[in-house]
């Protein structure tokens, strides 16, 4: 199955990079004008198109990129000349760190909230938690980010307002710098984990299977931990993997608010400037990550629920 899945990933990667490359053609703006500088003549711009091969047909440009990429050469930024591989290996871990931090926070906070809400469905507590979750889904990340900064960074000085420290340099500093961004990013996740967990648990609690367990005289705690959560674990795993992929896409805004050198910032800047080697490399890295996350999720399903293996 594993080999099969890996083979399937190849057309996905080609299709994704091709789509992005095609879409880049539609983005207004001409990178040759940007490279040529502020008072460049038309001749100079034409000269640059020639030098960088930007005057070649679109399919040939993509083909060249693909050919080099297959050989492990992802090219250099057209603007700054930094090798794309270097950019990605530098900024992607930062984004991953914040995303993982945010997902962990979502689970750690969302899990107890969901259990609490499901314990007394339709009570005031349930209503309050679900109301809070709706708020969590509705609040925009960037707004929350700015509010957090103005209270916890500028007001009380508990956390830094901007910047990032790589986990490899100092793990505690990394956590300290990443906390506000991760909180800004995780509200959505908390809400989703709590809601999904609540509805799954409520459904299971009202099942005949659980009624039988009650009848057998098991304590509610034992039912929750031994039977309830085990039954919802597959659901929960799906939510978490979706959450991860979603957070990966949502970092763009949070990275800008907190001035974090991450993947989102890099992609947006490169798209706006038409720096296609950077865009292509970054998109490929994201696609690979999503494929890997989905693969790992699928493998974990079979561990959590052996019945899935047969399907």
């Amino acid at each position: 199955m594993l080999l099969n899945r890996l083979v399937q990933a190849i057309p996905i990667m080609i299709l994704a990079t091709f789509l992005v490359f095609s879409l880049l053609q539609l983005v207004p703006g001409d990178i040759a004008t940007t490279i040529a500088g502020e008072n460049a003549s038309e001749e100079r711009i034409e000269e640059i198109r020639e030098q960088y091969g930007l005057n070649q047909p679109f399919l040939i440009q993509y083909g060249n990129w693909l050919l080099n990429a297959v050989q492990g050469d992802f090219g250099k930024s057209l603007l700054s000349g930094e090798p794309v591989l270097e950019t990605i290996t530098r900024v992607f871990p930062n984004t991953l760190f914040i995303v993982i931090y945010a997902v962990v926070l979502s689970v750690v906070i969302g899990l107890p909230l969901g259990i609490l809400a499901s314990s007394k469905p339709n009570s005031k507590l349930d209503g309050a938690i679900m109301g809070f979750s709706s708020l969590g889904v509705a609040v925009p990340n960037f707004w929350l980010g700015m509010v957090l900064v103005s209270i916890f960074a500028l007001g009380w000085n508990w956390f830094p307002a901007t910047g990032f420290v790589r986990p490899g340099e100092s793990f505690t500093s990394a956590i300290w710098f990443a906390t506000l961004p991760a909180i800004a990013l995780c509200t959505n996740g908390i809400a989703e984990v709590a809601r999904q967990l609540r509805s799954s648990l409520v459904e299971i609690h009202s099942s005949q299977h659980v009624r039988t367990l009650h009848a057998k005289g098991l304590s509610p705690t034992a039912i929750l931990w031994k039977h309830g959560l085990k039954n919802v674990s597959v659901n929960l795993l799906t939510v978490i993997s979706l959450l991860f992929n979603k957070a990966l896409a949502a970092t763009v805004v949070v990275e800008t608010v907190f001035a974090i050198p991450g993947m989102g910032n890099t992609i947006v800047k490169a798209v706006l400037e038409g720096d296609f080697p950077v865009v292509q490399g970054a998109v490929l890295a994201m696609v690979v990550t999503v494929i890997v996350v989905n693969l790992v999720t699928d493998l974990l399903y079979t561990v959590l629920d052996p019945r899935i293996k047969q399907v």
Binding site: T33, N39, A40, G81, L154, E169, A259, P261
Partner: protein, 527 residues
């Protein structure tokens, strides 16, 4: 924290040692020479210095002065590359740099006397040969973006080990100030030979800071150059630039202490800076001018009275208050009032007078007003400015809707393809005003969208400004230039942008300059 995991810390520590040795040497010199003034400064060097952390607005396009293209690069380039000529911060008058003096034996020859004993960061000599190498590279290399800056140069000759003679095609006294910009930034010839195209990311100059690291869109690390020719400089141990494109985030990084300085902030942020607390504001005038470019090849704008009407129709004071939160200077010509070549008489030509604008339109044959194809950019600030201008123009009968787009796109459409009647944009300024005027108004210039031949006498007056090195005579020549430009209303100047920086109080000697591109040579941190 493991030290070997942190290259910056390791660098800094290795560096402190070297710095101590250097300072030991310095104090020895000071004791022998017993120089009262400088030794006080040296005490500061020993006690303070420090690493300056700067929030910068944009990733550089290249760290090679000849191949880069963005005006925001200079702030990173100035510390690494010493320039042949420098300028006064407030007036942009030329001052000696690597060239300790220069002269024009005749109007078509410039002789530069290069400072002796200056070394590049790689230890090679900065002599006349190196200067010739740089000038020739900048004006001929296919990758050079500044070939047009040195278009007046015919030949560069080494006439003595530290003397360079530049032969010119035509008289050009703007050259010294050209050599204060990209063209005057000296790159080590051996590094160019070593790195080739990779010199874009491996800058080796002779400036007060040495290059350490550049991570795209993230940071640029510089460290003190202990062998800098001016032994009183640098005061700083290093400069760490963090690239933060969002101006609100940039200011926040200073307010919460992750950076010491942020530059190129916006007018609307001034109240935040002035609210007090942890940051101080540093403000200054710049030559960066918001203006309306006019394509007067055909249509109503080919009539000088219509162009004058445009100039009378705009209330520049109100525009500065409304669209720049007061952080700017109303512009009545292409130079701000603090510039050495400013002419107060010309500035009085177009005071706000909507009645006169209506009258001029009627005289031009448009009593019912005109309709124009207006162009502009689509960022928030530009859109706001354009809306205000639209209102002011409609008030006198000049109507139209704006077509907007990104800066490179709209600029290419307007300047290169000649689309639209006018473009609301800006002129970033040049060190020497003659460059500004020639680039904006010469018949074949890129920025003259209609490619209209300039009015009689303009090119002669620009040439006259270049054929004398005497500042008073040059000033007179520029008065003529400015008068011709404004009387013919070739442009609608709007406002000069104010340079706004925010810094924590321990930053000393931070100054703005007229070019709006901060230099950190005199800055130090109070301990």
């Amino acid at each position: 924290m493991k030290k070997k995991d942190n290259p910056v810390v390791a660098e800094a520590e290795g560096f402190t040692l070297r710095r101590r040795e250097f300072l030991g040497m310095l104090t020895g010199v000071a004791a022998v020479a017993t120089m009262a003034g400088p030794s006080a400064l040296m005490a500061k060097v020993m006690d303070n210095g420090g690493i300056l952390r700067v929030g910068a607005p944009a990733n550089p396009s290249s760290m090679d002065p000849a191949t880069g293209g963005s005006g925001s690069d200079h702030v990173f380039l100035f510390p690494v590359f010493a320039t042949l000529v420098e300028w006064d911060y407030d007036t942009l008058k030329a001052e000696p740099g690597l060239a300790k003096s220069w002269e024009y034996p005749d109007s078509k020859t410039l002789v530069l006397n290069i400072r002796e004993g200056v070394k590049f960061h790689d230890g090679t000599e900065l002599d006349a040969e190196a200067v010739k190498f740089n000038l020739d590279r900048s004006r001929t290399d296919p990758r050079s973006n500044i070939r047009s800056d040195l278009a007046s140069v015919e030949k560069v000759e080494v006439t003595a080990p530290h003397e360079v003679t530049v032969h010119l095609k035509s008289p050009d006294t703007s050259l010294p100030l050209v050599l204060s910009d990209r063209a005057g930034m000296m790159v080590s010839p051996s590094s160019i030979k070593k790195f080739g195209e990779e010199s874009d990311r491996n800058p080796v100059g002779a400036g007060h800071m040495k290059f350490v690291e550049w991570n795209d869109g993230d940071r640029i690390i510089l460290e003190r150059n202990p062998d800098y020719w001016n032994k009183e400089r640098p005061l700083l141990d290093g400069i760490n630039f963090r690239i933060i494109t969002d101006s609100s985030t940039r200011l926040r990084s200073v307010m919460s202490g992750q950076n010491d300085v942020a530059y190129q902030l916006e007018g609307r942020q001034k109240p935040l800076i002035e609210r007090g607390g942890s940051v101080e504001g540093v403000y200054g005038a710049t030559v960066y001018c918001f203006q309306i470019y006019l394509n007067h090849a055909s249509g109503p704008l080919s009539n000088v009275k219509v162009r004058q009407a445009l100039n009378y129709a705009i209330n520049r004071e109100a525009l500065v208050r409304a669209s720049m939160h007061g952080a700017g200077e109303p512009a009545y010509m292409n130079l701000p009032s603090s510039h050495w070549a400013y002419d107060a008489d010309v500035a009085e030509l177009y005071s706000y007078d909507p009645d006169k604008a209506r009258k001029l339109l009627a005289e031009a044959g448009y009593p019912d007003g005109i309709e124009l194809d207006m162009r502009g950019y689509n960022d928030q600030g530009s859109v706001q400015r354009q809306e205000i201008l639209q209102g002011m123009l409609a008030d006198v009968g000049i109507r139209g809707t704006f077509k907007t787009g990104t800066v490179p796109d709209m600029s290419a459409a307007y300047f290169a393809r000649g689309e639209g009647d006018f473009l609301v944009s800006a002129w970033t300024g040049r060190p020497d005003p003659s460059l500004t005027y020639a680039l904006l108004y010469a018949g074949d210039s890129y920025f003259n969208a209609g490619k209209v031949e300039p009015p009689e006498g303009l090119m002669e007056a620009i040439r006259a400004s270049r054929s004398t090195a005497d500042l008073e005579e040059r000033k007179k020549a520029f008065s003529t230039v400015q008068r011709i430009v404004m009387e013919n209303a070739l442009v609608v100047p709007l406002a000069f942008r104010e340079d706004i920086m925010a810094a924590v109080p321990k930053v000393e000697n931070l100054q703005t300059n007229l070019l709006g591109k901060p230099k950190f040579k005199h800055v130090y941190l109070e301990s």
